[in-house]
Amino acid sequence: MTEWVVEANDITKVYQMGEIEVHALRGLSVNIAPGEIVSIMGPSGSGKSTLMNILGCLDRPTSGDYSLNGESVATLNDDQLAEIRNRGVGFVFQSFNLLPRATALANVELPMRYAVLNGRNRKQVAKEALEAVGLGDRIRHRPNELSGGQMQRVAIARALVNNPAIIMADEPTGNLDTTSGEEIMTLLKNLNKDRGTTLIIVTHDPEIAELTDRVISIRDGRIAE
């Protein structure tokens, strides 16, 4: 283990929108320690989604170096990135993004299906993950039979199954009512405490940010001091 689980140095990201170059990130550096809970805040257009995409290995920086778990990922190809995402990152989205036709169990199993090493009994692991998020009695339900809070729990279980180093949560409570939102935050914090999983939460909500160890504010593609 290195000192930092997330180690990003001087990251820039430039999008080409027709003839205009859009500088989404302008030399941003951020380090996150294992087990930390960090929130990334910033107004829309500040570059926080871009940062999340890069930290989550969904995208590559234009320049700069990024190491996840001590492994440099800035220059990997699409398939190698897919592999890193598979075992190194768990995603929790605002809109849950569950497969509508699949049961909770099948949804949770999904990342393991793409794993290079097919672990022991996938169903068992998926079931345990669902139990860990308190949905042990809902494994045969499909998303349309679950409440918003329950769907987000399924998504969290899915993020957990491959034991990733970090969980990236993009507005995880954005589509939930206050009670469910609080429950989800508690669940995430407990998982962090029990498993030591690093948690990166992108949010607009200052109340959510307050629950985290550290807030990274972003403005115009840079860290706002």
């Binding site: 969904l58 990342p111 793409y114």
Partner: protein
């Protein structure tokens, strides 16, 4: 991701929109069904025609005057036929039957019929395997004696008398001259060539030459049927006939003024024709299969667009390009393979039905579904599914995960 779970997932995805899946498959079902049925009909036709030609007798040769390549051919005569039948010069020939052919108007009891007329000698019975349902074939005396005797085909008999038995001794007028019925030909059944013996009458060759169909040259005949001693001697017989006729017609150089045609040549000709026919039918059916394939591509493209978000999510949790590609290819192949299997069954039923209809209209056609045509259809439909699945699947696999996730 293992294959079985991919397959199950694809099945699940296909069953989640049953109407769409069924309609997409229908294109392939019709395409494959049509290919199978058309090939079966083509093969059935070929077999029927080949059977018909083989029915002529494998050791039969036809000798006729070559009017195409030679300007002033010497006509074939009875003497030529006698020379061909000479066992010393043509040991491979067992019999030669000269005939003249034409049309004649028959009347009997107020009924009129126009039929094919064949003037024959005694050898005709042997060479053509003539069988009579009643009466006797012409005797040598009848033939040399210009007898006014006639043998009727069954259809002719029906047309004239309304029956085809008990007619021996009846009188028929052939081109106005009275002939006595001495025999009735055994019914042959349907013939694809239209000139079935059922619709013909036979008279002695000499009678035909002198009284019914006079020819320019004395003893001239239109055609000589020759039978070789066995099927293996056909080639030898052909050479010997050729030698004899060249000698008799005094041909030293250039084209022969006669043609010798063997059954093998007919078979070759028929297979070529029916082969083209089969390819044509199969090709037309193949086009409908192609259209079915385009249907698959269309629906898979819609499916990719609809499932962009799902693809994004799969990529986010670690699916590689190849995984997404495989997923969509399996779906499209499954569509076409299942459609193909149903299509094979449909094509089989279709060709059975057509066989029945053909049998009911007295045309013997036994549609033959061969393993080859089934394999061809299966492989072709799977290939169609793969080919038309590649573009949508590739499009899906190329989606950027971020963009795909953002889409709604």
């Amino acid at each position: 991701m293992n294959f079985v779970s991919s397959l199950l997932e694809a099945l699940e995805s296909l069953t989640s929109n049953k109407v769409r899946t069924a309609l997409t498959m229908l294109g392939i079902v019709i395409g494959v069904g049509a290919v199978i049925a058309m090939l079966a009909i083509g093969n059935g036709t070929e077999q029927a025609i080949v059977g018909e030609i083989e029915g002529i007798g494998t050791n039969l040769l036809f000798v006729m005057t070559n009017r195409e390549d030679v300007t002033n051919p010497e006509p074939l005569t009875i003497r030529d036929a006698e020379a061909i039948a000479d066992p010393i010069f043509a040991p491979a020939v067992s019999a030669a039957a000269p005939v003249i052919q034409g049309q004649a108007e028959l009347t009997a009891g107020g009924n009129v019929a126009t039929t094919g007329l064949v003037g024959v000698t005694e050898e005709y019975k042997v060479v053509q395997n003539v069988e009579l349902s009643e009466g006797e074939f012409f005797t040598g005396t009848q033939i040399t004696g210009l007898a006014s005797a006639v043998i009727l085909g069954t259809n002719v008999a029906e047309d004239l008398f309304g029956r085809s038995d008990g007619l021996i001794g009846e009188t028929v007028r052939v081109s106005g001259q009275p002939f006595r019925v001495v025999g009735i030909l055994k019914k042959e059944g349907g013939s694809e060539f239209g000139n079935s013996p059922d619709d013909q009458i036979l008279v002695p060759l000499t009678t035909a030459q002198t009284r019914l169909m006079p020819r320019n040259v004395k003893n001239q005949v239109d055609l000589i049927y020759v039978s070789a001693i066995d099927a293996d001697s056909v080639k030898q017989a052909e050479d010997q006939i050729s030698l004899i006729l060249r000698e008799r017609h005094k041909i030293k150089l250039g084209e022969d003024d006669f043609n010798i045609i063997s059954q093998e040549m007919f078979l070759d000709m028929a297979s070529t024709v029916t082969g083209v026919f089969t390819v044509f039918l199969g090709g037309v059916a193949g086009i409908s299969l192609l259209v079915g394939g385009i249907g698959i591509m269309n629906i898979m493209l819609v499916s990719v667009t609809e499932r962009t978000k799902e693809i994004g999510l799969r990529k986010a949790v670690g699916a590689k390009k190849k995984d997404i590609l495989t997923q969509f290819l399996i779906e499209s192949s499954l569509l076409s393979v299942i459609g193909g299997i149903i299509g094979i069954i449909l094509g089989w039923l279709l060709s059975l039905g057509i066989g029945r209809i053909a049998a009911a209209s007295d045309f013997i056609l036994d549609p033959a579904i061969t393993i080859n045509s089934v394999l061809l259809a299966t492989l072709f439909s799977a290939a169609v599914g793969l080919f038309f699945g590649i573009y949508p699947a590739n499009r899906a696999s190329q989606l950027e995960p971020i963009e795909a996730l953002r889409s709604e």
